[in-house]
Point group: D2
Chain length 345, copies 4
Amino acid sequence: MIRIGIVGASGYTGVELARLLCGCPDVKLMVATSRQYNGRKLAEVYPNLAGMVDIACEDLQTEELADRADLFFTAVPHETAMEIVPDLLQAGKKVVDLSADFRLHDAAVYEKWYQKHTAPEYLAEAVYGLPELHRQQIVKARLVANPGCYPTSVILGLAPLLQAGVIEPETIIVDSKSGASGAGRAAQTGTLFCEVTEGFKAYKVAAHRHTPEMEQEISGLCKTPITISFTPHLLPISRGILSTIYAKLVSPLTDGEVSELYQGFYKEEPFVRLCAPGSFPATQFVRGSNFCDIGFKADSRTGRVVVLAAIDNLVKGAAGQAVQNMNLMCNLPETTGLLAVPLFP
Amino acid sequence: MIRIGIVGASGYTGVELARLLCGCPDVKLMVATSRQYNGRKLAEVYPNLAGMVDIACEDLQTEELADRADLFFTAVPHETAMEIVPDLLQAGKKVVDLSADFRLHDAAVYEKWYQKHTAPEYLAEAVYGLPELHRQQIVKARLVANPGCYPTSVILGLAPLLQAGVIEPETIIVDSKSGASGAGRAAQTGTLFCEVTEGFKAYKVAAHRHTPEMEQEISGLCKTPITISFTPHLLPISRGILSTIYAKLVSPLTDGEVSELYQGFYKEEPFVRLCAPGSFPATQFVRGSNFCDIGFKADSRTGRVVVLAAIDNLVKGAAGQAVQNMNLMCNLPETTGLLAVPLFP
Amino acid sequence: MIRIGIVGASGYTGVELARLLCGCPDVKLMVATSRQYNGRKLAEVYPNLAGMVDIACEDLQTEELADRADLFFTAVPHETAMEIVPDLLQAGKKVVDLSADFRLHDAAVYEKWYQKHTAPEYLAEAVYGLPELHRQQIVKARLVANPGCYPTSVILGLAPLLQAGVIEPETIIVDSKSGASGAGRAAQTGTLFCEVTEGFKAYKVAAHRHTPEMEQEISGLCKTPITISFTPHLLPISRGILSTIYAKLVSPLTDGEVSELYQGFYKEEPFVRLCAPGSFPATQFVRGSNFCDIGFKADSRTGRVVVLAAIDNLVKGAAGQAVQNMNLMCNLPETTGLLAVPLFP
Amino acid sequence: MIRIGIVGASGYTGVELARLLCGCPDVKLMVATSRQYNGRKLAEVYPNLAGMVDIACEDLQTEELADRADLFFTAVPHETAMEIVPDLLQAGKKVVDLSADFRLHDAAVYEKWYQKHTAPEYLAEAVYGLPELHRQQIVKARLVANPGCYPTSVILGLAPLLQAGVIEPETIIVDSKSGASGAGRAAQTGTLFCEVTEGFKAYKVAAHRHTPEMEQEISGLCKTPITISFTPHLLPISRGILSTIYAKLVSPLTDGEVSELYQGFYKEEPFVRLCAPGSFPATQFVRGSNFCDIGFKADSRTGRVVVLAAIDNLVKGAAGQAVQNMNLMCNLPETTGLLAVPLFP
């Protein structure tokens, strides 16, 4: 039995981890921290967990934490994560960090988009936790940087094309749309029901912090530095990201040829589902699941390819991918706890 | 391995059965009928099932059907069900019927609210499939009439009070609210997105066909015929029913005394969760699950008790309860396939 | 030109007043206060107002305020209102107070449901601003207490039946459902998009502060003290209240007879629309308008009548009714600025 | 008094015309056709119109129609429009056609994207009814082809940049998102509430019929034929389109320089509102109004500009723009009936 801790258990990502771990027979959630709800049952804060999750929230120092579990999920904001993670690692623990603090290999890039990095010595060792690209490294890692929600959809959407060298990477434009759970559970005017429902808008246009993370992985696949355009939007839904991605084809391709590239690239992957040519993914068909559904269209009129990738931002975009990484790091079957059928309608 | 058939697999209830059966290791879905989608994969019609459910829809005669499975779920409209069910029973099959055709013991009552009954000879044997009230009969039944969605919430909400004799049953008023999936997947103007979203209304006021079903079970618990007021409303959500139920207390009770009645009545029940006094259920906390969450308030100002009961209308209100009944009829553990954590947010 | 001030202009009710006043040619919004947004244009806080409302928010003392306008809307929380209103009245201003502070005639009742009343000397003079019941007093008032949103729907729904004496008032049960804008624009976890969407729940069961306000007006119509049951619920919509009201009929009535009572009572009313027998109101058909739509069903099975009343909680339930009161107090045509067609879909 | 007819009055666009015409004092709605609801009051089909619109639907031949009004809005599907419009014109009537049938100047392009054109002789005379580009021609037109909803947002978003020659038009990528009312009120599975809510998807990727319409107007502004990429998506909202538009800048520009181009181009326009640099439009802030709100970001990292344009698809994207065109064609003040404040929340 592997003992698990969740640091930051009362946010939407933390509680999604708790939900998913209910389906993992070989691990046990031993400790869950929350400053805000210290002393209260997690199931009292999230009544959906009643009868299923019996743990109470605690407000602990890192030293106390470390004794209680073997692997930790750190589901705290960036900046907080890099204060905690080094101590957990030094205590011999494995860590899946869901913040942005260890995703970028280059501290200078991190500091340009975020703030000063206080634990840059761990950046070289941290593995970017996208199993479809870095599975072998994840298996051996003690620190996995769980990818951002937008980057997961975008990198999975582009990887087969980039690896095959069939698109011009400098022409990549990413137009992404996310549900409101991506903004977390903090009380703020901008995510009130009345502000979000029956509405739609872009935010942080050409300025979102997930941009360098995508550029890092895209550049890695291209073996040359790439700059992309990225626009995130806020959807009036709870869960789900759809990324619509545009790029110029190096030379004309048919839908069938594009399809073959994707099928080849993802043929062994349990969590990538490819849409039949002519159909496209929808967020409602991945809801609650760890799937990334991908569709595409080679447009002979414009010489571009349009790729569409859908995930549940709280699952494949956060907690589900974190559990997938945990499974890999602990030598458990990779799909354990992650094979729920998407909930539709 | 028990072989399962779903008659009417392409409606929301049929496909929810297919989803839930994925979590049942001792049964196997062998046949799924749909006139509309004959020949198409169910996962093509419902892409959330891609990679999880590999069955194709068929349009079969009852005779052909019967050979293919041991237990059938009939998820077809009333009137259609009573044409099919007798043949399945005569072929020696077990049936969980999700229509209204076998729920009312009295054909005259059925004919008052619906239309002529063409198989009244099966009404005496059909068991009303609410396990919390009729578990022992369900275990032995070959025909279970799966309860309506509204009645499930209302009967579970009232049963402890009725059995204890603490309310005046003639004062019962039921104000229920349901998500739009209760209206099914037929293309109709009234359930278009634009007609439902950002809106709320009552329908079939004092005239809904679930009324006699509730009255039958309430009368059974009271051992005397009872008439109730029932108003259904349409919520701008997909899944969920909340019933708010009012009744006059025979004599004053505290919340604590009411709580004891509920705790006693439901202490062994795996799918009824009681809210702590002062908190109340919400549909979002049972979403995708087989739970019925119940809260209440004894109001000393008015001498009434207010009971609130929440279910997912497609799960405990339909497919989940049907699987629970299947488990009982097949001597499988009652909770098999039904212990998913509700999906929130 | 009548000069208008809004105290508390940046909440949903305040900004709705600003929106509606754009359609009133004989009045001019001169001052709008907001502590939070002091110095910022209201149209910057609410970009829907861009190009339409050019006023900036100010944080003013009551003395400074009083000089700037002739009539004030006080759209601030209860307790704050009773600090401001007396000074405005003493400065010779007219006031439409949208808080609860002057709605209850009896300070003792107020103090039982709210807290100590610091200006009880104004309670006798304050007129309960429901024009359909108290028009003549409103015309002469200098202080109008604008009704609560729930009470507006409930009192308009019941008044014809109570006045005609055809229901037993002690059997009244009110089951109301409101959109999230009723909770205001304060940042709080409970009204975040993800907490509200695709969900439904009751709150403050048998304990909501609008109860005594309804009881006061119902008792007035009955000429005897009445106690009612009231349960509010939170709908996943922005705007709209639907109240479903139950009462025992003194003696059997047909729908036609009930219809005549309503038609007689409301025949001159510009903002009450009666549904044809067999149809029922919906919140989406009053959205953005000052209408109250009412439907009903006399149920011969149970001897009860069910009344359904729908309003837009921000318009007829708050700002629209306040403008209607302003029109009456200022001898302007009562419907000025209030005849927009409801926005559907 | 100008007499108005609406052909196809019972769709969302037709009824939105009826709603807006209530605010136009110099015109009168004389006839409204609907095959489906022949003989029924429009306010019975759309209860939001109760007490405001008193017309009944009729099913008329074109000859009968023509006598009844001076100007007609044809709010019928393409193909149907080109059967009706020629007869109305020959009867001396003015027509604002809301279908696609007369928007494309080149019958060959029309026939490539739609089907055979049966009235190509009117294409040369039809004016593309975007007042911000073609006001002078609209004033003199007898046939105005009211623009599509997506093209309205895209062309208004791009016009200042195209006219100034600061972008490379062959790099234009348009990613648009529309509310469900754009799909109309026909009963179809794909726009049921349960299929749309809490979901998001693209459709007709690189194949939507609004593409040639945008290309025609963009090419006109560039004075050279341009091909663009266009992806429409379905939002879980009723009303609203947001288009996110990408293009390569010919040479670097600051946000301030871009802002000046927009301010210059739109300085006299009553229905275009420009966002301050750093803020972006949202569909909820134009809801129910004829405004097009536009924001932008010049991205020095990528050398691209991102433009965001928001409209209400039923107003500026259909009925409101049609009324604006009517006002121009009838020498009424252009903004008559169109100055409602957007409804938020």
